[in-house]
Subunit: 427 residues, 2 copies
């Protein structure tokens, strides 16, 4: 894990280099994704079965998880884990309920009534990665905000394991969180199934949830026909620490992020040379104790870095240009520094708020904008599962007052039919 001393002038180059790191040629992947999606659009469920057989080596009888499988999954869960899922659910629900917007109206101008009506999306698909491992936290973080929003149909889809079964933990979490149906279709074919439906499955209006590069590109491909949450890249953390940072905590948090996969990235920004050196040592020491040591070899050595700045101001400049998915502020007074953060997915304050607290427990969503996209997008939230309609009412006198002005405006744009629609009321 390299330590690099930097100044303000180096920031631009660091950002550029990190962009390069992410760019790969997607032409071939996009072509394959397009074929899969278009084939399912045309052939329906037959094509879905074929792709599941091709990619997951399983011959399915049904694309749906059965009631029996759901009951078995719930039964197989030990009470300890059930309690943990329920407490996490309560925390996530409590936070997300605060995001729920109300419809409103205003009557500020005489004779007018303007409003914004907020309604849930009716039918939503949630993609959950699977196969070997289970990600119940992904299930909770996607299904609960949809439930809080009031979404009627919440369909989880996830790849089947080798035996044709979905991991019981995924099923149990989906059921506990409020999913209404579970599909056994992963990959780009899972996204196509959600977006366009089959003979036995009605298409959804929006798709959320993370996945591999095929899932991400399939989401981009179907975007427009359905809504999507975001196109997520590899996970990342940035820790901004001063000399009060505890080296072993910082190292543990960098490793926690880097263990996700080879492309995950963990960055420490600090104005303390001493902390930088101590963290470097600690990272190498702690890596040895970790199960996912081989992944860490890649992500820590190739994707991660320690940047030492002359002052905190330069540190904040770098952080804001990175716009990291996760940002830990391990500073003397983190609350006082919060307003200096301009772009980040989630911000963790102080040394007892490590990033995994947000992944599983605290309540805010763990689905966050990656790779600098926090400059223009937000964590997944209840707002992603609702939509707005404007409401406009003018009475006769209010429209009379505006008539000539609207007509002139419309004529200016060459749309005399627009002007006529107003004038017609007063002929």
């Amino acid at each position: 894990m390299k330590i690099q001393q930097i100044t303000k002038n180096d920031i631009q180059q660091i950002i550029e280099a990190r962009k390069q790191r992410q760019s790969e040629d997607l032409t071939l992947i996009d072509k394959r994704v397009q074929n899969i999606v278009e084939r399912i659009k045309q052939m329906g469920e037959k094509a879905v079965y074929q792709y599941v057989e091709e990619f997951d080596q399983v011959k399915l009888d049904s694309i749906f998880v059965s009631e029996e499988e759901i009951n078995d999954a719930l039964d197989s869960l030990d009470q300890g884990m059930k309690d943990i899922l329920n407490e996490a659910k309560a925390n996530i629900e409590r936070y997300h309920k605060l995001q729920k917007e109300k419809s409103w109206y205003t009557q500020e101008q005489p004779g007018t009534w303007l409003g914004q009506q907020v309604t849930p999306i009716e039918r939503v698909g949630v993609y959950v990665p699977g196969g070997k491992a289970a990600y119940p936290s992904t299930v909770l973080m996607n299904v609960i905000p949809a439930k809080v929003a009031g979404v009627r149909d919440i369909i989880v889809t996830t790849p089947v394991g080798k035996g044709g079964a979905v991991h019981p933990m995924t099923i149990a979490a989906a059921k506990m969180a409020g999913a209404t149906q579970i599909l056994k279709v992963g990959g780009a074919h899972g996204i196509a199934t959600l977006a366009y439906g089959t003979e036995n499955f009605k298409s959804v209006h929006k798709i959320t949830g993370p996945g591999n590069i095929y899932v991400a590109r399939a989401k981009k491909y179907v975007f427009g026909d359905v809504g999507i949450d975001m196109i997520a890249g590899p996970s990342e953390v940035c820790i901004l620490a001063d000399d009060t940072g505890t080296p072993s905590y910082v190292a543990a948090d960098l490793i926690a992020q880097a263990e996700h996969d080879e492309l995950a990235s963990a960055i420490l920004v600090t104005d303390s040379h001493q902390l930088a050196n101590q963290v470097q040592d600690e990272v190498y020491r702690q890596m040895e104790e970790r199960k996912r040591k081989e992944i860490l070899q890649h992500s820590i050595l190739n994707q991660s870095a320690i940047y030492v700045t002359s002052d905190l101001e330069t540190g904040f400049d770098l952080v804001n240009d990175l716009a990291p998915e996760h940002l830990e502020l391990l500073l003397t007074n983190p609350f006082e520094q919060l307003s200096r953060v301009k772009h980040a997915g989630a911000i963790f304050l102080g040394e007892f708020s490590p990033e995994p607290l947000g992944d599983y427990w605290a309540g805010p969503n763990h689905t966050l904008p990656t790779n600098g996209t926090a400059k223009f997008s937000s964590p997944l939230g209840v707002y992603d599962f609702m939509k707005k309609s404007s409401v406009i009412y003018y009475d006769q006198s209010a429209l009379i007052e505006a008539e000539s002005k609207i007509s002139r405006f419309a004529d200016e744009e060459g749309l005399d039919g627009h002007a006529a629609s107003i004038r017609k009321r007063f002929e």
Copy 2:
């Protein structure tokens, strides 16, 4: 304009037929868009000049509208139109200020502090169609919400006319609304310039605004690297009227929508045979009086329809399945019926709230989801120009209380580094 009597059972088929109407093979367009965008990414401003010359037949000296051009444009505006733009601006501002979200925090659990920090996007690009005509209303509807959000840099881009100049009305509206820079680059090359920048122009973080099919596909192509508002299709209105509807108003409003372009669509849904027949007559009569008669021949005859239902309930079912961009409720008690609307971009209540009132004047945004996408998306708003960051703080005792539960959860997902990051605090 065909009149069709329908029942609930016909709705599915009507929706399917309308979907077909919109689907065209985009492979060729996408290929050309990809070439344009990638070439500008690689070659920068030189490629931009080449595309402007190729597509707009203009040799530009600079891609920027100059201070002199801005002053000339403002001087050229007559006082009447200046007042109209300023009053429209005030109406739009007043409504959009009500959309502005505040940051918040909560301390519901002991020892915890959770929040949602809301901040403006820093740099936004607004695409405005141009060339022959000017669309000052598009300028206002995109720039004002960005300004209300607190966006620092708002860059308008629009195609140049034959002489190398941008329409003075577009420039004046941009300046009055608060744009900070104006570019002379239209089409897919305009979107590429905004998304990736050039030697002299820094890329933006998000792009909004309508355009032709090349602009729409270019927006989809760059989505992910930058944010976009939506991919807009042809404009459309749906009018739901009972026998109290005034035929001449209904006809005028259908025509106002249909005059946009050949693909625009205007639909009347009513439970009154008499109204259906009277509107049909009126449409043919009024069409003759309109300047854009030739466009109306296509849009009214090919894209539009009158559906007669046996009752209002069936009417609402059709409306909700259409999820129209614009919906007029010309009913006896429109306010009482509002809650029956599940999906629509904007809803206009009663006979003195014709759709053009929303295009130019009332205040709510006229950039709305088309082609059924109101099932999952919203009007353009201040929320499109801001983003959220989650904030998480736990003190030591709160983290101790959660330690074993988070660790178990992380272990369950096979991420022992996540568990270690929590445990490390208490070793």
